[in-house]
């Protein structure tokens, strides 16, 4: 671009007159053919502002250009579901949970910003997903967070982990959203690429679902919330530096600072607007800010829109049109309202202390025209930005080391045999970074606010009452396992799905819907792309088999340092419904004298296990068998037994196998257990295998027969393991006895980075 001074704004008129002017599209991440397509769409060169808009809307982050062709499977393979009110494609899916209520939930990543500035990155990640849920018309009612950090001893991990945890806590607590679950995993593969996947769930009356479509010629466009600053301008600042003053460009921060207080007011304000039916369309401002919100709402409504950009309230008066459009300042929403309601909307906003500004109107035709002090700086068909971005079928290749890694079975690793060795292994695992107590993290999160939290950490799933009259509730769990996915991305995604599904079932709820966040390396690496496709297929196939649809999700690519990508990490969230939360299955061990029963089948499966990792730093072999029929049968037993109030305690088996499940179950309510492992079985295998589709349950004598019957009906293997005892110890008959204090102190080990 030529040496325009700061005052000269590139307008549509100017662009038509200077068709040949060179533009820095490559620096903005646009390919030659993408740039040529923009010319073709507009019939002229784009203005600087338009170019900035295309570059950001056609970026991987906004356009899903590498993932789109694969994500289609979620729709194509989706099982039929009457409960699905809004499917994929909107900000978040909406599910009818009965009783006149609908639930919307979604998980989203904020990985890269959280590495640069852990506290604010994580905080704004929570803020962003909460606005997505609000946009659907729902009151956000809870959050969850799935976190991954580098090795606990690595020097940078403390900075990243503590900042991220404090950021999740700071934002969520200040918004008044209970945190009802999540994950914390340490693995060296996340050293320079921590993962912050935040989930939010919201509830609304079924008839209050909001849409993002901007409709109704003459309706007004209202910008609600925070003033717009130079936050997160990122890639677009390259344009600025090419066009304008070199020195000022360096000052443009990509870091966004969250303001949960403003978000809280924005939430209450929007909910009141929804309640009074004052909103025709609404969209949150997230990635790509106003650019994304204006183009998506106009495109969804097949409407035209006129925006008077100079009306946008600014934090810094000197901001230029492309900066205003690209700014990712947090805590903003775009609403479409009828002209007759505008005064009321503005006064309600004022009551809540929320800035509200009329910045434009819906027009005839299908053009988005953005003016700057009367001069058009943008005149585009909005769908060309929002829907018609590029889509690539990127090359894929099975990783070169795939077969070698799978052949490297963990079964050949030396195993503990003697009672002492087994005991030490159990304690070592209980104290290891991924299995020790999550309390240092979760006690920083408010799990009580709202007064509807029935289950939260350390329960297998979060359980939330959503109707105080009927006691109807929802359960949620998020799970992922990068090690399994590294060994086999197809099975890894399915194992994550299976685990989240099982966790939801342990609360007694019936799983009904799925969200996902797919964290991968660079899509330009064919091996990563292969992993991605495998994970998507695995998840889509798994959801079809289980009969629960994917309702939404998010993709995060480029999680890699140099040439080394993270282990593929699909994180899966499952939502369940509980008709009566008072029938929840209590977590942990039940009452003294109750039988402890293992449901499900145990195989010799230790490849990719926590034991192989902790004891041998080994990652190889084939992950555990996925058996969705067995998962569904187990879930059916749990929900039926829960509904009949047969069970007094429950804990699913996952990382660390039966050994870890016993440790956690004992410590939950500090109850003792006497256990006899099934005769003839290899004790190590029984204790440390990570076979899926298993759970521990506690059942009083008078309910044993009924439970046995349920298991027989569903063909779920039933093994009486032992009994809940009054002694403060975990006794494994013929093996060893550990007192609960010893267990508790091992489990209370705090990972180095969190000390």
């Amino acid at each position: 671009m030529s040496s325009g001074s700061v005052d000269v704004i590139d307008t549509v008129t100017l662009a038509s007159q200077t068709a040949d002017q060179a533009q820095p599209y490559a620096q903005l991440g646009l390919e030659d053919d993408e740039y040529a397509r923009i010319h073709q769409i507009l019939g002229r060169r784009p203005t600087q502002t338009e170019l900035a808009m295309y570059s950001v809307m056609w970026s991987e982050h906004c356009s899903y250009k590498s993932s789109k062709v694969h994500l289609r499977q979620f729709g194509e393979k989706a099982p039929a579901s009457d409960a699905l009110l809004v499917g994929m494609g909107e900000n978040a899916g909406v599910i009818d949970v009965g009783g006149g209520l609908a639930v919307t939930f979604k998980i989203e990543s904020h990985n890269h910003p959280s590495y640069v500035e852990p506290y604010q990155g994580a905080a704004t990640g929570v803020g962003g997903i909460v606005r997505d849920i609000l946009t659907m018309g729902a009151r956000p009612v809870a959050v969850m967070d799935s976190l991954r950090f580098g090795a606990p001893e690595a020097p940078d991990t403390a900075r990243v982990a503590n900042g991220i945890i404090a950021g999740v806590a700071g934002y969520g607590n200040c918004l008044g959203l209970p945190n009802i679950g999540g994950e914390v995993v340490f693995d060296p593969c996340y050293q320079g690429n921590p993962l912050v996947n935040a989930l939010c769930v919201g509830v609304m009356p079924v008839d209050r679902i909001q849409r993002s479509a901007a409709r109704g010629v003459g309706n007004l466009v209202v910008l609600l919330g925070a003033k717009t600053g130079r936050d997160g301008i990122g890639g677009v600042s390259v344009l600025a530096s090419a066009a304008f003053d070199q020195d000022t460009a360096a000052q443009r921060p990509s870091v966004q600072v969250g303001d949960p207080f403003t978000e809280k007011l924005l939430i209450e304000c929007c909910l009141e607007l929804f309640e009074r039916e004052l909103v025709v369309g609404i969209q949150d401002l997230g990635g790509a800010g106003l650019t994304c919100a204006t183009t998506e709402t106009a495109a969804a409504g097949r409407s035209g829109m006129r925006v008077h950009l100079e009306r946008v309230p600014l934090r810094e008066a000197s901001m230029l049109p492309h900066e205003i459009l690209a700014s990712e300042s947090q805590e903003r929403m775009l609403a479409i309202v009828r002209p007759g309601d505008a005064a009321l909307v503005l006064s309600l906003a004022q009551r809540w202390g929320v800035h509200a500004t009329l910045i434009g109107e819906i027009t005839d035709g299908e053009r988005l025209v953005i003016t700057w002090h009367g001069e058009a700086v943008v005149d585009v068909p909005p769908a060309s930005l929002a829907d018609e971005g590029p889509a690539y079928q990127r090359p894929m290749r099975r990783p070169a080391d795939f077969d070698a890694i799978r052949a490297d079975d963990a079964g050949k690793l030396p195993r503990p045999h003697s009672a002492t060795e087994l005991r030490d292994t159990l304690l070592t695992l209980a104290a290891s970074p991924n299995l020790c107590s999550r309390k240092p993290v979760t006690q920083q999160y408010d799990r009580y606010v709202g007064g509807n939290t029935v289950l939260a950490q350390p329960a297998d799933a979060g359980l939330l009452r959503i109707d105080e009259q009927t006691q109807r509730g929802i359960a949620l769990a998020v799970d992922g396992n990068g090690r399994y996915a590294r060994l086999d991305p197809y099975a890894g995604a399915q194992l994550a799905l299976a685990e989240a599904y099982r966790n939801v079932a342990t609360s007694g709820a019936r799983p009904i819907a799925v969200t996902n966040c797919l964290n991968f390396g660079s899509p330009q690496d064919p091996e990563v792309m292969w992993q991605f496709e495998q994970a998507v297929s695995g998840l889509a196939d798994g959801c079809r088999t289980l009969g629960i649809p994917v309702t939404g999700g998010n993709v995060s690519f480029y999680n890699q340092t140099g040439e080394t990508p993270i282990s593929p990490t699909p994180v899966i969230g499952v939502l369940g419904v509980s008709a009566d939360v008072t029938k929840r299955i209590p977590s942990g061990l039940g009452n003294v004298g109750d039988a402890i029963v293992l449901l499900g089948q145990t195989r010799d499966e230790v490849s990719g296990s926590e034991w192989a990792w902790v004891a041998h730093q080994h990652l190889g072999g084939v992950p555990p068998v996925v058996d969705f029929a067995a998962e569904a049968a187990l879930a059916a037993v749990l929900t039926d037994a829960g509904a009949a109030r047969l069970l007094t305690g429950v804990h699913d088996l996952s990382d660390g196998g039966l050994a870890q499940a016993l440790v956690e179950a004992c410590l939950y309510r500090r109850r003792g257990a006497y256990i006899e492992l099934p005769p003839g079985a290899d004790a190590f295998m029984q204790l440390f295998s990570e076979s899926s589709a298993r759970a521990l349950v506690c059942v009083p004598d008078n309910a044993v027969t009924q439970l046995r019957q349920l298991c027989a009906q569903q063909a779920v293997p039933y093994a009486a393991l032992g009994v809940v005892t009054a002694a403060a110890q975990l006794e494994l008959h013929h093996q060893f006895t550990l007192n609960l204090d010893e267990l508790a102190s091992a489990h209370a080990t705090v990972p180095t980075a969190l000390r």
Binding site: A166, A169, G170, N173, C174, L175, G176, D259, P260, F261, T262, K264, L265, R351, W352, G353, T442, Q443, Q444, Y445, D446, R447, Y448, V449, G450, G451, N452, T453, V454, R465, E468, V581, T582
Partner: protein, 224 residues
Amino acid sequence: MSVRVGVVTFPGSLDDRDALRAVAAARAEPVGLWHADADLHGVDAVVLPGGFSYGDYLRAGAIARFAPVMRLVIEQAAAGLPVLGICNGFQVLCEAHLLPGALARNDHQRFRCQDQQLIMERTSTDWTQGYQPGQVVVIPLKHGEGRYVADSPTLDELEAEGRVVVRYFGQSPNGAARGIAGISNPAGNVVGLMPHPEHAIDPLTGPSADGLPFFTSVLQRLVA
């Protein structure tokens, strides 16, 4: 005649709905009060709920105490209106000088949410008549700035006058002076505490129902 208990919503209040629920659970009539209204709508008692009023960015409760509704709360508290400040509400009461001392950042500098054992000491206040002195209860707490501080003469006076309403039992969660979790004014109508009794009214959604007597106490006191 039913007893009406108001719960003030400040911008950033979070546990206001929970406090209203607890009032209802105690069979009083819950009344929502708005920070900007200079009107208490004739309520018989007021709860200042938990949350992060104004984001608590400056100091917890520092801005909320200047809200129009607080002028009336301060005025009528002096005339004997029962006022309970929970967590952020306690911080507001201290900032408003209805209670002495201040709530500083936790000594470990982190937000802490946990089920806390507490020992009830003064049970002659409007809000604690339903407890026995020395009774140990479990009530959740959740705060980043809950370390009660005051100078020694003030602390001595509080103890001498029996105005320490509730103390942490066992290890202190925040480093509070003399383990103080909650205090009252001399008359016993104004009580502030860091733990959240409104989150312990039903074992389904809290660790116990040990918090309910706070709300039934004021009811008893008002119908008496």
